[in-house]
Amino acid sequence: MFGYLRLEMLRLMRDGGYLFMTLIMPVVTYLVFTNLSSVTGQDHREAALYAMVGMAGFGALGAVLNNGVGVAEDKSLGWIRQLRLLPLSPLQVVAARTLCGMAVAFPPIAAVCLLGALVNGVSLGAGQWLAIVALLWLGIAPIAVLAMGIGYLFDAQKAQMSGALGYLGLSLIGGLWIPIKQFPHWLQTVATFTPANRYGELSWRIAFGGTFSVAAAAGLLAWFAIFGGFAVYAYRRSVRTA
């Protein structure tokens, strides 16, 4: 598995355009978003903190979803089938590729958090910083697995579309852009069940001085199981039809 992980990481590191895009999108939106007083309203400090978690999560989401598009592209080249014919277990292949997506999710998380501290004056305790970065990174795993399913199920074009839809849709309804408190009541209820909201909630809790949210973690675990099942289904299907 490590051989495969190494190969795919090597390919990722050489994909400058992809790495740049995953970084630039959340960074720019974060800076613009938090420095327009019309958007942030009264409390700039609170908005900077809220949006820091939101935009870091948005960046991570985009990184892992794009990684799924990469799988769909490789599938069209016959690479996924070639891997299936090597002595590697499917679980190892999918796990390594998921880890690749998570690796790419780290730079935007780190960059947005740095900007929060250096430009927007977010100040947190060392423990809080550590917890937020770790939760933002680990918490993206369910979406990274969802992206695997999308990559295995669809061709590159459909994967791209599903990825873009998931990117905007999940981050909007999850409250990564605008706090769900500003949603109509019924939509708030719906939003709290979505994966991106559970994901953000883990870090927002810590950021605003709360404790680790067991409920949010449980929700994310449930999504991890659902998306894992989806990825297994998509993988089996792709092996049959590839």
């Binding site: 051989g3 190969l7 994909d15 080249l77 016959g78 690479w79 089938r81 090597l86 002595p87």
Partner: protein, 305 residues
């Protein structure tokens, strides 16, 4: 693999397909196929497009399961043989992934296997030593196929399965690829390849298995298959007043211009009879081309269907 292992393996079958059928919806892709390939053989799976070659290969590689019947590879389940690194495969796709160099790609593949040969040896066997530093997706068609062949052999597997390895290659690239494949087969490994090029089967296989409509319609050396069908063709200038179709051995007569072409199962007897009748002018005796044999065989199946 030690020499004694190869000697021992030579008596065993590398793969066995027993009474297999496979449908895709209403279409019967494989229709009661039986095939055994012994270890160390180089076998061509020959047939027109849609004959069931790719489906057969997909089953041998564990990519799809037969509806009925059994497929055994190296004494077990195909998927297990793949998982244990005992098969190398070159599926029928022809592109390589971007952002990786040939050396890195083959290096990764060989490390997946339990006991791979040194990297330099793999590159040498596949004739891609000079391509090691190139980007894998920036190669010509022939170079790409040789790299894909290197992927198949990187673990020195006992059995290599190649699905139409030379499709869409030019003559020179084909020759290079075959030189590499024959080199590997010469080391005692079992090689199964599919093709719809007759000359390729003729030139590169010890044994040819002809399939059509999911059934095996002929199986033997290329000489045996040619003989099975048509024997030889005896040609002379068209004689007047001789009942050519009554001559001994003659099974078919074709007149083209002022020449008579007699298809004969016993060309010696046919020639003697022609001489007896005093009509031997510009005599020519030719073996049937494999192409004729192939067409005759597939025609026969069409009639019986």
């Amino acid at each position: 693999m030690r020499a004694t292992d190869i000697g021992e393996a030579a008596t065993n079958s590398a793969l066995t397909i027993t009474n297999v059928t496979k449908n895709y919806g209403d279409v019967r892709a494989i229709d009661g196929l039986d095939l055994t390939i012994r270890a160390g053989e180089t076998v061509a799976l020959l047939g027109p497009n849609g004959a069931g070659k790719s489906t057969t290969i997909a089953m041998l590689l564990g990519l799809t399961a037969p509806d009925t019947g059994t497929v055994r590879v190296l004494g077990g389940d195909p998927e297990r043989a793949v998982r244990n690194g005992r098969i190398g495969a070159m599926p029928q796709e022809n592109r390589l992934i971007p952002r990786v160099k040939v050396r890195e790609l083959i290096g990764f593949v060989r490390e997946c296997y339990p006991a791979p040969p040194p990297l330099a040896e793999i590159l040498e066997t596949a004739r891609i030593t000079d391509l090691a530093g190139r980007w894998a997706d920036k190669l010509s068609g022939g170079q790409t196929q040789r790299v894909r062949f290197a992927i198949a052999l990187a673990g020195a597997p006992e059995l290599i399965v190649l699905d139409e390895p030379t499709a869409s290659l030019d003559v020179e690239s084909r020759r290079e690829l075959w030189a590499a494949i024959r080199g590997y087969a010469a080391s005692g490994r079992t090689v199964l390849f599919s093709t719809h090029y007759l000359e390729e089967a003729d030139d590169n296989a010890d044994r040819i298995v002809v399939v059509d409509r999911g059934r095996l319609i002929a199986d033997g050396t290329s000489a045996e298959i040619k003989q099975r069908v048509a024997g030889r063709t005896v040609s002379v200038d068209l004689p007047a007043g001789t009942a050519l179709d009554r001559l001994p051995g003659v099974v078919a007569v074709e007149i083209r211009g002022d020449r008579a072409h007699l298809r004969s199962t016993d060309s010696d007897a046919t020639v003697l009879a022609l001489a007896g009748a005093g009509v031997v002018r510009n005599l020519e005796v030719t073996g049937a081309a494999l192409e004729d044999a192939f067409l005759a065989l597939t025609d026969t199946t069409k009639e019986t269907v």
